[in-house]
Amino acid sequence: MAVTTRISGIGGGGQPTTRTVAPDLRAQKSWRRTKSGIMQWLMGASIVVALLPVIFVVITVIGKGASSVFTGFPKFLTAAIPNQERKIGPGMGPAVVGTLLITALATAIAVPLGILGAVYLHEYGGRSPFAKVVRFLSNVMTGVPSIVMGLFIYVIFTLNFGYSGLGGALALAFLMLPIIIRSVEVMLKLVPTSLREASYALGTSKSRTVLTVVLPSALPGVISGCLLAVARAAGETAPLLFTIFTVNQTNRNVFSGANTTLSRQIFSNALSSLSGAQGRAWGAALTLLAIAFLFTIIARIASARFSAKR
């Protein structure tokens, strides 16, 4: 009982509080316990509250999209988009092709640049003032709204070269770039310095050390970071509004001519009140969600193997 008297005045983590007189202990004690229990219960509940929307969305998208996607499978994924919105039925073929091509091109641009940028920051720049500026601004660039990036590419690229998948890919690549730089730099930090020193001791040049020792040992983590960026880019819509326009026929040439993606189709069909268009929107949403989840799961497996190896 004497012990409880002394501790009842402490609520501020060891800092002396002004409450020095200990009030009735037994009542206080039980209230403090209850309060702690309530707060912990609320924390647990906030997880449930945050997960409810995502559960709803996934169930709705599967419920409404499955019938569009799986009726006459895989016709939905290959057939052209009907020219009339009110027409009921497939498909989203051009959008599937566009999504895959544009995302792949964006990845091909962003991943090498992002890895090089991260290598500069961690292996060359380190704590130098310039590297600090680059690191800071790269983090700031993560926060550039996607629509601003889209308009930027519209101004410097699309105005000169016209609508094309490449324009969209450029916008997505610049959105992915800072994400990749950041995640790869974190992975490079995990590579032990002793590996680099061992390589230098063998007389290997710095570039060879980075390319043959550092990057391979960080590879699973790098892949995981890149895949998460890809999953984000595949679902982006806003920058594509200005850079790829939209078409109803498949355009396999990603370097010229208007194109379309699943996300772009969902956006325009969501504004429609016609059930045919809405049905295709849900089907496209299911396809897009499946792509995004697939990339995320692969990324998780890669990073789980990476951390298991550590």
């Binding site: 402490i10 609520g11 501020g12 983590g13 316990r33 309060k35 702690s36 707060m39 912990q40 924390m43 647990g44 509940a45 906030s46 945050a50 995502v54 709803f56 969305v57 709705t60 998208v61 640049l113 090089l116 940028g117 290598v119 500069y120 920051l121 292996e123 060359y124 590297a131 500026v133 680059v134 601004l137 790269s138 983090n139 700031v140 660039m141 926060g143 550039v144 709204p145 629509i147 601003v148 308009l151 930027f152 101004v155 730089i181 007389g203 040049s205 710095k206 570039s207 595949a234 679902g235 819509t237 509004l241 996300s263 956006f267 969501a270 809405q278 849900w282 969600l289 995004a292 995320t296």
Partner: protein, 315 residues
């Protein structure tokens, strides 16, 4: 060679070596170039609209396409209002989740929770928007109207919780909140994990309950980091386009009614671009420039705050 004891290699780098070095440097510089070019091109392209409207571009709330009168104030307001609602909803939930994962949950539960919360970030914004517009809008209007009925006679709250629309500031706020919860959660979780175990154990050993321990050690220690995380979330919420464009309602008005339809900067750009003439396009790029400036300020402050808290932790 006499320099045999040198710890670092002292020979001249080979051409391949310096080429690689400059490639890396180039990729780093690219970040600066892109940010610089965004600022430059957006300013020049929106100059027509700015010179046409003058300062009233920012202070006028009338956006009248037919008369070529472009005032952005109601959109700036809508952006800030919906983002504020999002932040107010996201803060308690994110902190709750982060505290639960770092302080309460048993070890085996931490990773599954983290993965599940990250799922919120996997769902593309256009899918959130589609769901918000076609599924959520109708039932949430009924729900908002219930709140309106409760508060309508209360002086201030009566105007905030006014008559409801399905697509409104609050609908957008809810969707945006869900979208920024993962980033706020993961950043606050990271700072909370750096609380020294001795602090926490000391508090518990002194007889503090778990909540008192959190209030006394974890929250004060991670306050700066949490503020940074929240500001980064705010920047995201302001810049989010497609979800907002689909659920905010598309009405240019300044209203304290959180349940009224409104419009936000990115939503207007997305919705009006395809039918815009030259001057209107310039005005829309002006909106983008405004949005870029707003998010840039928020992000600059947020990143400095985060950096400062990281430095303090390093000491």
């Amino acid at each position: 060679m006499a320099i045999t004891t040198a710890p670092k290699m002292n020979r001249r780098p080979t051409p391949a070596d310096s080429t690689f070095r400059y490639m890396c440097l180039g990729a780093g510089v690219l970040v600066l170039i892109v940010l610089g070019l965004i600022t430059y091109t957006m300013t020049t392209k929106s100059w027509d609209a700015f010179s046409h409207m003058g300062l009233s571009f920012f202070t006028d709330k009338r956006w009248d396409i037919a008369n070529q009168h472009y005032g952005a104030l109601s959109y700036i307001f809508g952006t800030l209002y919906s983002a504020t609602i999002a932040i107010l909803l996201a803060i308690p939930l994110s902190l709750g989740i982060a505290l639960f994962t770092t302080q309460v949950a048993p070890l085996w539960l931490k990773r599954p929770i983290t993965y599940l919360i990250d799922l919120l970030a996997v769902v593309p914004s256009v899918v959130w928007g589609l769901w918000g517009a076609l599924v959520l809008a109708a039932p949430i209007r009924t729900f908002f109207n219930h709140i309106h009925d409760i508060f309508k006679r209360v002086p201030v709250l009566g105007t905030i919780f006014g008559a409801a629309q399905g697509k409104s500031f609050s609908t957008a706020g809810i969707i945006l909140a869900v979208m920024i919860i993962p980033i706020i959660t993961s950043l606050s979780r990271e700072v909370m994990e750096t609380v020294p175990p001795t602090d926490r154990e000391g508090a518990l050993a002194l007889g503090a309950t778990r909540w008192e321990m959190i209030k006394g050690t974890v929250l004060p220690h991670s306050r700066t980091g949490i503020i940074g995380a929240v500001m980064l979330g705010l920047g995201r919420a302001m810049g989010e386009t497609i979800a907002a464009a689909l659920v905010i309602g598309g009405a240019a008005q300044i209203s304290s009614n959180a349940f009224a339809s409104g419009d936000s900067l990115p939503a207007v750009i997305a919705n009006q671009w395809s039918e815009a003439d030259t001057l209107q396009k310039s005005a829309l790029i002006g909106l983008a420039m405004t949005l870029f400036a707003m998010t840039l300020i928020v992000n600059l402050v947020a990143n400095s705050v985060v950096n400062r808290s990281e430095r303090r932790r390093a000491i």
